[in-house]
Point group: C2
């Protein structure tokens, strides 16, 4: 009995050491994520769901992430601040939404006449883009990651053709943000209208045109039923959403869970690009079948050229006022020059030279 | 004392239950991976290293993967069989290498005149491609995953221009696999030469031309120093490597480690595409600076058209002999039709319409 007693004590002692690890390894970390989007928002919201599911499965349930949509937290464009102060641990949003608050967040979503998705991912990972983004966000206790790419966004739905720069004068168009600034410089009137009122505004000629995303999200909005001209993109060639994580909170996670979270976010971003590509192709086929008269057009060269000039002037102004803005703009412009030469030889050159054969 | 004894026993009993879980959670799973490539092979080997590192970090060391390169296992094109019989647990290779053994593996790497990387990822994930690949591999106790994309491979280094279909007659070219079959149908003589002898063979006119990958891997081979013409790609528009996992072995892993392995492989595949894109751009700039006389050309339309015709005839023959081949070929051709329309409107259309402005 005495022997047995010592044995038990020994087992207890040995096993308690192991169990301390066991309890650490079993500890569940509960994180809260705020997304800019409403509940069940297609594609953008799918990227979040995809990330959360991967993180939970890979961590065997040790990482549980509660997702609050905009209807819950009531602050779609307050995600930056809510994660910064720790009200939420993670956010899913778009960097350029915060350019009114932190001007240099503007550059990490997409830029007019800028890089395509593949080019921009190359810039983020091999051209210094991620480091520049880290620098802008670290001052706010935030760690930023790419959050999913829409691919090229379309130039928008128009009821009348744009043939000259003159046609942009007094054009009332829903086109928010930086692209709106560019058009305003050319005499257009950019307006912002809640998504739920867009269809009616276009139908009743309250606005002349609008841009949303592309077929992946435009199909359900129904714009193709009332505006016959679908202009190709120029202003958002590779819209990348973002995940932001509260830096202090991230550092409290064990190293394996940090790795899981980071890989899940990065994979979710690529996955959303693939989903957007597939869904755009499928939805465009539906639109074109239902409404065979939709005309897909590019803006005339003179119009694009005027837009580019206005774009460059605004960027020059930003660069001259802010050394960090200058650094980011130069990095993007230099990388675009380097990488576009390769795009021209590879994917663009391939599609161009085999175009007639692909039919 | 007696009280203390019972307490110890109780603790021992309680903690032993926990410790059983602790031991399970701490168990290290050691897997062996065979890669087709030699040690430290750039880009392709990086994809494997990237995957292994992510898997180890995310599993907190519970998943340890030993990588054997071709110099170790001596069977670069035996990876399929070695993983099938369980000599290795995982392989990294390219599906089309095994088309002599299992003909329908041909279709899951890239096809001449086929999809680009983004289009092909969309096909794998939303167009039924992954399911078809699973079907082909499941008969061999293998679970296949995308393993990294090179982007568009260049058409190759030529010492003389190809102006007509006649110029392909008796052209001795290093171009293995299906693309070699296509050229053979047009009178060329495809030859296979070990990588280490390629440079000398081209220099001494033992061969007239060769294709390798693209700037990402061609730079170190030095072909640009001895062949002035670099033709754009037609035969491998989106070469996707693959990971294959022994099915029975995969099923012995706990669910969280299966999830970690799968996510790590999938993310590594995207990462390699981005790396290839960035490195191609960088290396092309180096080549062009060192040898400004390199001419980048597309094959003339009549030559491409003859290649396409030969390609389609071989595919038709394969489809007529094998219902599964017919099913895969139809799936790819249908998806290409659907998705290329979107590419034309989006990334291709964007680059085309802004081409002059990007300079």
């Amino acid at each position: 009995m005495l022997k047995s007693f010592y044995k038990s004590t020994l087992i207890a002692a040995v096993v308690m050491v192991t169990s301390a690890n066991a309890f650490a390894a079993d500890k569940v970390y509960r994180l809260k994520l705020a997304e800019t989007w409403g509940p069940n928002f297609p594609v953008f919201g799918d990227s979040v769901k995809n990330m959360v599911k991967m993180a939970e499965e890979m961590s065997n349930g040790r990482l549980k992430i509660r997702v609050d949509s905009a209807n819950k937290h009531k602050s779609p464009f307050g995600v930056f601040d809510m994660v910064k102060i720790g009200q939420y641990d993670i956010g899913h949003s778009a960097s350029y939404y915060y350019n009114g608050k932190v001007p240099n967040t503007l550059y990490f979503t997409t830029m007019p006449f800028g890089m395509t998705a593949s080019e921009q991912y190359a810039w983020f990972q091999y051209g210094g883009g991620q480091e520049l983004m880290d620098e802008v966000y670290s001052a706010h206790n935030l760690v930023p990651f790419p959050g999913g790419n829409t691919g090229v966004q379309m130039g928008g739905w128009f009821r009348k053709e744009i043939n000259t720069v003159e046609d942009l004068k007094n054009l009332k168009m829903r086109i928010p943000g930086f692209a709106g600034e560019v058009l305003a410089k050319l005499g257009a009137t950019p307006v912002n209208i809640p998504p739920g009122e867009l269809y009616t505004s276009l139908e009743r000629n309250t606005i002349d045109a609008l841009e949303w995303v592309g077929p992946s999200l435009d199909l359900r909005m129904g714009f193709h039923k009332i505006a016959p001209i679908y202009y190709m993109g120029w202003h958002e060639p590779a819209t990348e959403l973002m995940f932001i994580v509260n830096k202090k909170k991230l550092e409290t996670l064990p190293a394996d869970l940090q790795a899981i979270l980071k890989v899940a976010m990065r994979k979710a971003s690529y996955d959303m690009y693939v989903q957007s590509y597939a869904l755009s192709a499928e939805n465009w086929a539906v639109m074109k079948t239902e409404f065979p008269d939709i005309q897909v057009k590019t803006f005339p060269p003179a119009v694009l050229s005027a837009m580019k000039k206005a774009n460059d002037e605004i960027l020059e102004e930003k660069a001259s006022n802010d050394p960090m803005a200058a650094k980011i703009i130069k990095s993007q412009q230099d990388y675009l020059k380097l990488v576009r030469v390769w795009t021209d030889i590879s994917e663009y050159g391939y599609i161009k030279s085999t175009k007639e054969l692909a039919k």
